[in-house]
């Protein structure tokens, strides 16, 4: 983010900070490889307004998961956060706190739900024992109350609570594990919840019901949610705000309905066109050209989308566009906004 745009928005930030559950600035993450560092996340600013659902879309390897790991300051090797700040509720900077304080924020204030295909639970401990471990780690005095609350949440999620608490991870189905994961993220009353591809490996009906539960709980507890996925459908359905992520940068952001109804960035446009829809003219669907970003894309100089862009010009190859406001809070990073695509 350049100086000018920071100055432009400086005043509004002061007001917004109070309303932002998370306010991340200038996040940079690099991955060390034998051939040199690859910038996996570059100069990303992202705000999660309190009580809202934000969707982050990106293809595999776009760095979207790295971004939320960076927000939690939990990037794993060979990744490294090189700069940035993450204000939590307008105060504590996650990236500067002592590791003990960070630990206490993780889990207690920020919940995290993993991909359905990942096993986020210790295979050798019963679910109930793991809840107790979690409670002890965050100095919960009344562990019995904690278990009762966990049971309540599990019942809410449509599970047989007593059975689940006495189970090992391998005794649960994919959909059940995912619900248990949601319970873990909420059992300590976290206000902020990150979901990383949390419905990806689930069946259609399971996914729909998990999304429904997330939506209900969000409304009820006024949660702040960031939902990361490659599936534009899920994000479009769930989120109020949307961030389009491409090769480590945000290329477009705004209100979901607005971005989907009138996308400005050629990638967003292409992506929306490239998904088969259940409504409208199916023959209008058109594949997106080129291939997904790889490590070479991250290293190129100009616009990251240059290779695949139908409306590129020579200047796009040499310099990279910044994220600029086009319409209220709808921002896009493209020199050619408004240009007709000839495709």
């Amino acid at each position: 983010m350049s100086d000018t745009s920071t100055v432009n928005t400086e005043n509004t930030f002061k007001d917004q900070e109070q309303k932002m559950a998370i306010s991340a600035r200038n996040i940079n993450v690099v991955y060390a490889t034998p051939t040199g560092d690859i910038p996996a996340v570059r100069n990303v600013d992202i705000d999660l307004p309190k009580g809202s659902i934000t969707g982050i879309i990106g293809e595999s390897g776009s760095g979207k998961s790295t971004l939320i790991m960076a927000i939690m300051n939990a990037v794993t090797k060979p990744g490294k956060i090189t700069s940035g700040s993450v204000l939590l509720n307008g105060e504590n900077d996650m990236l500067k706190l002592s590791s003990e304080k960070q630990r206490k924020i993780r889990g207690k204030e920020i919940g995290f739900v993993f991909q359905a295909a990942q096993n986020s639970l210790n295979p050798l401990r019963r679910i109930g024992q793991q809840i107790l471990d979690l409670g002890r780690a965050h100095e919960v005095n009344d562990l019995r109350k904690l278990i009762n609350y966990a049971k309540k949440l599990l019942i809410r999620l449509g599970l047989d609570a007593d059975r689940v608490l006495a189970s090992y991870q391998h005794e649960l189905s994919g959909g059940m594990r995912q619900r248990v994961g949601i319970m873990f993220s909420l059992v300590l009353n976290a206000n902020i919840v990150f979901l990383d591809e949390s419905t990806t490996a689930l069946d259609m009906l399971s996914q729909a019901s998990v999304l429904e539960i997330i939506r209900e709980l969000q409304r009820e507890k006024n949660l702040t949610i960031a939902f990361v996925s490659h599936d534009i459908g899920v994000i479009a359905d769930l989120s109020e705000r949307i961030e389009i992520f491409y090769a480590g940068e945000i290329v477009e952001e705004g209100k979901t309905s607005e971005v989907l109804a009138c996308p400005k960035h050629p990638y967003t446009k292409g992506l929306i066109k490239a998904i088969p829809k259940i409504s409208g003219d199916i023959d209008a669907a058109e594949p997106l050209k080129g291939s997904s970003p790889d490590y070479r894309t991250f290293k190129q100089k100009g616009c990251l989308f240059y290779d695949r862009c139908p409306i590129r010009t020579d200047s796009c190859r040499d310099s990279r566009p910044e994220l600029n406001i086009t319409n209220r809070d709808h921002k896009v990073a493209c020199f050619r906004v408004g240009a007709n695509d000839r495709d």
Partner: protein
């Protein structure tokens, strides 16, 4: 033309020192795919749709029923003739990362089968090279850059194209595409669907499309027939567009309701509903409707008798209380 008649499949789940369990994976399925036609099986994972595909290409033996390819019942053929006939049906796997041998270059893979074909057709090495080139171009790959690559150097989309090209080397009449796009990046999925559609339209190759995503089934062409499968049974069938707009079975409606709504482009259908109960492989075979335990509209008879697939309104459904509900999203 490929026909399936009364196809059934039971799986024995073996337990060493306790009773064997039997799972009825495919129940009395009938279907016909004319040459150059397309048929789509829709359902959740574990519903038996993959098993149908695997039986059709000979990877699995049916428990009963018959599979008829070009008028010949494959179960009545001798081993050699059967294998030859089954080559006309090629399976494209869901996972392009596993379907290519990591130790072979693309050229080695293509040659393995093309050499066999060349022997059958009494052609020479030039023919092999020419054919290899032709097929890779057909699937949208550049032979010169791709032939010497190993699979790990390719993206998911490119791999899936290589797999399709390799399947085409044996000149099949039908491709079974089992969740072919589910592991490919979103922006590249439509490219693969477009390729399948092209093969169908231009090269008269019929497609059996197996998926959980109804929207991608639409893309294959508007004469595609859609079969909705639940616990191994076809519970609704009809032309794709018709089933989406006028679904009669509650399960089909639940599936359509579960499709996410693209805010700003679409609005939810007015009868949309979400089922929150979990899918369970029931321990005992129910007497009644297979969907009864999850059906929000069930009545007492649904637990007692099982509805059969019956014809109504240009489509078929297996429900005692069919009712058209507008559950699919609509454009704004």
């Amino acid at each position: 033309m490929i026909e399936i008649k009364n196809l059934q499949k039971f799986f024995q789940i073996k337990a060493k020192f306790s009773n064997h369990k039997t799972v009825h994976a495919v129940r009395n399925v009938n279907l016909t795919i004319p040459s150059g036609g397309a048929l789509c099986l829709i359902g959740e994972s574990g519903c038996g749709k993959t098993t149908i595909g695997r039986m059709l290409c000979g990877m699995e033996n049916p428990s009963s029923g018959s599979i008829i390819i070009d008028g010949q019942d494959i179960s009545k053929l001798k081993r050699g003739a059967r294998a030859k006939l089954l080559q006309k049906v090629q399976l494209i796997h869901q996972d392009p990362y596993q379907a290519l041998n990591p130790t072979h270059t693309i050229e080695q893979m293509m040659k393995a089968t093309l050499k066999k074909m060349a022997k059958q057709k009494k052609k020479d090495a030039d023919w092999i090279r020419q054919r290899m080139d032709e097929l890779l171009k057909l699937v949208g790959l550049d032979p010169e850059t791709i032939l010497f690559k190993y699979p790990h150097m390719l993206s998911g989309g490119q791999r899936q194209r290589v797999i399709i090209a390799r399947a085409l080397t044996v000149e099949p009449e039908m491709l079974i595409a089992d969740e072919v796009v589910s592991m490919i990046d979103v922006s590249l999925r439509l490219g693969i669907l477009k390729l399948l559609r092209y093969l169908r339209e231009r090269h008269n190759i019929s497609i059996l499309f197996i998926t959980h995503d109804i929207a991608s089934a639409r893309y294959l062409g508007n004469d595609t027939e859609l079969y909705v499968v639940y616990k191994g049974m076809v519970i609704e069938r009809g032309r794709t567009e018709l089933v989406i707009r006028r679904p009669q079975h509650p399960y089909t409606q639940a599936l359509l309701s579960a499709m996410p709504i693209l805010k700003g482009i679409e609005k939810p259908g007015k009868d949309r509903f979400v089922i929150t109960s979990q899918f369970r492989q029931s321990e005992e075979e129910p007497h009644g409707c297979l969907f009864a335990d999850r059906c929000p509209f069930k009545q007492s008879i649904c637990d007692e008798k099982r509805p059969e697939l019956i014809h109504s309104d240009d489509a078929y459904h297996a429900c005692f209380f069919p009712k058209v509900r507008q559950v699919a999203a609509e454009s704004i």
